[in-house]
Symmetry: C2
Subunit: 409 residues, 2 copies
């Protein structure tokens, strides 16, 4: 259909941004007089957890369809309250649930994927001069049942709506000022990044910077939706997530991130070469174990040693599988280490610069931090260090790559 709203902007407000009546009133004040808008809201902070707790006190394994019907009420409450507040200010507004907004999804409850958005009702609302307030996180399947998109789903709703409505921009309002060069809690001089590429954001998001849901970044990249993350509470431009080609200067390192929820498993002296290794990883995959880093340390006497990391929560299952396989393969040693941290250095400039890994080793060696694994991608280098050195490693690398102009060698 024709895009009748060329200057439309989609604004999304997360749970803490609408966590109380006072905050909902504040959000309304941010929307007044801002031109053509479509607004997406999350459930009030804590509400989704409250509803999930109700469900889990009924049964440990609640029916997914009913969980979605239950959870869907959370965003509806916010959407109605925000619409009321706007109307009481003399601003035309109207709440839309997933079905009324015609956000179609597949029927996979709890983890539904958006299959299409019929924008006719929303565009009609905007043409009437209203601000449609759409419940994030949810849609409707072909049976007319409410579905939810999984944690962080409201970000996906917002970007998908921005794409479907051909919005000029999508603004994600949250409780942080944007994307930082690293975690400000451990590096006080972490910098707020004014711009970052989609690829970098994806690496940072997946690696633990809980600012944007990775699928929303994919959507923004695929549909070329200009996306910004900014604070609901502090004025500021926030961080724009842009195509790499729009970054004037391509920093070698944009951000440093870390996670401490992985377990390392090392198998030493596996006989049988690649065939044996393959069997272990095929079994892990079949059992639904997500393997993150893998590094194979050279073989001697036809025997291979290999290390890999899995999520802590899957550690026990993974170990069981590996031990069974090792008995069969007669591998001599299995070692587990949960006391680790993974630190990642991300930057699109790595595509054009070599030597980041070398610089990284230099910095860590200076601090006396031993690196037990390393894995690299086009725009990222991740290393595994002892858990106790995590903060020190992040600070040292931040100082080296993001504060100092060059690393002293």
């Amino acid at each position: 259909m024709q895009n009748s709203t060329p200057v439309l902007i989609v604004k999304k407000f997360g749970g803490t941004s609408v966590g109380s009546i006072e905050r909902i009133k504040h959000v309304a004040s941010l929307l007044q007089g801002k031109g053509k808008l479509c607004v997406v809201v999350s459930a009030m902070a804590g509400e989704t957890d409250r509803l999930l707790k109700l469900a889990s006190s009924v049964t440990s394994d609640p029916e997914p369809r009913e969980v979605d019907a239950l959870l869907g009420t959370g965003e509806q409450v916010t959407a109605s309250l925000l619409a009321m507040e706007l109307i009481s200010r003399g601003v035309k507004a109207r709440s839309f649930d997933g079905s009324q907004a015609r956000i179609s999804t597949d029927g996979i409850h709890r983890h539904a994927k958006i299959t299409g958005i019929d924008t006719s009702e929303l565009l009609a609302s905007i043409d009437r001069g209203e601000i449609p307030i759409v419940t994030g996180f949810q849609g409707v399947d072909t049976k007319g049942d409410t579905t939810t998109l999984g944690r962080g789903g409201s970000d996906i709703s917002a970007v998908a709506l921005a794409a479907a409505l051909k919005a000029k921009e999508c603004h994600i309002y949250t409780d942080v000022e944007g994307v930082y060069s690293t975690d400000p809690r451990i590096v006080p001089n972490a910098r707020l990044l004014p711009r970052i590429s989609h690829e970098e954001m994806l690496e940072l998001a997946s690696l633990g910077a809980k600012v944007l849901h990775p699928r929303s970044v994919y959507f923004a990249m695929a549909y070329k939706v200009p996306l910004v993350v900014r604070s609901t509470f502090v004025e500021g431009e926030g961080t724009w997530i842009v195509p790499e080609e729009e970054l004037m200067e391509k920093p070698i390192v944009s951000g440093i991130t870390y996670r401490t929820d992985e377990t390392k498993i090392r198998i030493a002296k596996v006989p049988g070469g690649i065939e044996s290794i393959k069997r272990i990883f095929v079994t892990l995959a079949e059992r639904g174990i997500f393997v993150d880093m893998i590094s194979q340390t050279g073989s001697s006497e036809g025997k291979t040693s290999i290390s890999f990391t899995v999520l802590d929560e899957q550690g026990k299952d993974a170990l069981k599988i590996v031990e069974d396989a090792c008995r069969e393969l007669k591998a001599s040693e299995v070692a587990v280490d949960t006391d680790i941290a993974k630190v990642s250095v991300v930057g699109v400039g790595m595509r054009y610069h070599t030597g980041v890994a070398a610089d990284l080793f230099t910095v860590l060696a200076r601090e006396g931090i031993e690196v037990s694994m390393i894995s690299t991608s086009e725009i990222k280098v991740s290393i595994l260090v002892p858990r106790k050195y995590c903060e020190l490693a992040v600070r040292a690398l931040h100082d080296a790559f993001l504060v100092e102009v060059s690393v002293e060698k």
Copy 2:
């Protein structure tokens, strides 16, 4: 459409019946193995008030469409939780909101009326062997917006669904054991009535016995739905509401009820006869004042005295209107009395017996209770007494009409 479920029963559970997870589990236990059912649920006790409080803390005059969208979430939460509980017990169940259950209403938000029910989805669910759990109190208008039926609306939903589904019976589960001959809190030997006629129930319901919403009784009468009110917590048959012709024995008095929320206004010596009186009541009606009892006490010298009652909450407005009118009409006196109680004696047998009013005066005279107004209908006599005598009057009348076989004269 063909009724494929001849033995279907509709069961409705009110807010206190589903007021906690424990109670929802108890309700599920009442539904297991009970044959073909359609269940209607209210919001968990306190939830509707919580949502209304959220709305009123946003604005004193919230948009009705948004209030309905907000309130509609209350029953959805109950419906999902109950469906989950049933499914976890191995009972097939599925929640339906007003739209999914295809309960069509007009577009009058907060006080919508049901205009039709397309039972195809519900019957399909029942045919699949499921128990559909329908959100009470709500429907959907032609625009696809959630509407609510007003306080007590879940009773209406239940009876309307029973009529549309051609159910054999409609069971209303609540926190009392049924309809009593009077308020058991003031008359300990009040009797639980096994059967009562629709007309009597309507009189009792309108007069303050908060057991069933009057509109649900009208629906049951109009669509000949066998209706029973019983307790969720105590086993028992409850009270059946039946057509008068099905009452084997037609008691002269079935119940005694009272209310203390009315104000009496007396205007003395109004000149101008019926024309002046008419003007006062037309003005009251135009201003939305609901007048309950009216009694005109004879005129002398061409002047009339008249008394009437209004709800306390409308007392001030009514008095203002009356005082303005009296100045204009040069009526000499206006008196207000808020210290009153209205006691009503209800029974279909009055149609066939005279002398109930006489018996009533005899009983009250014996107790020294003065009656300041009386109004009668075919199956009811209401009297106005001083507030302080309310409980005494109810007890004395209950003893006389419902415990003793005949009144001693």
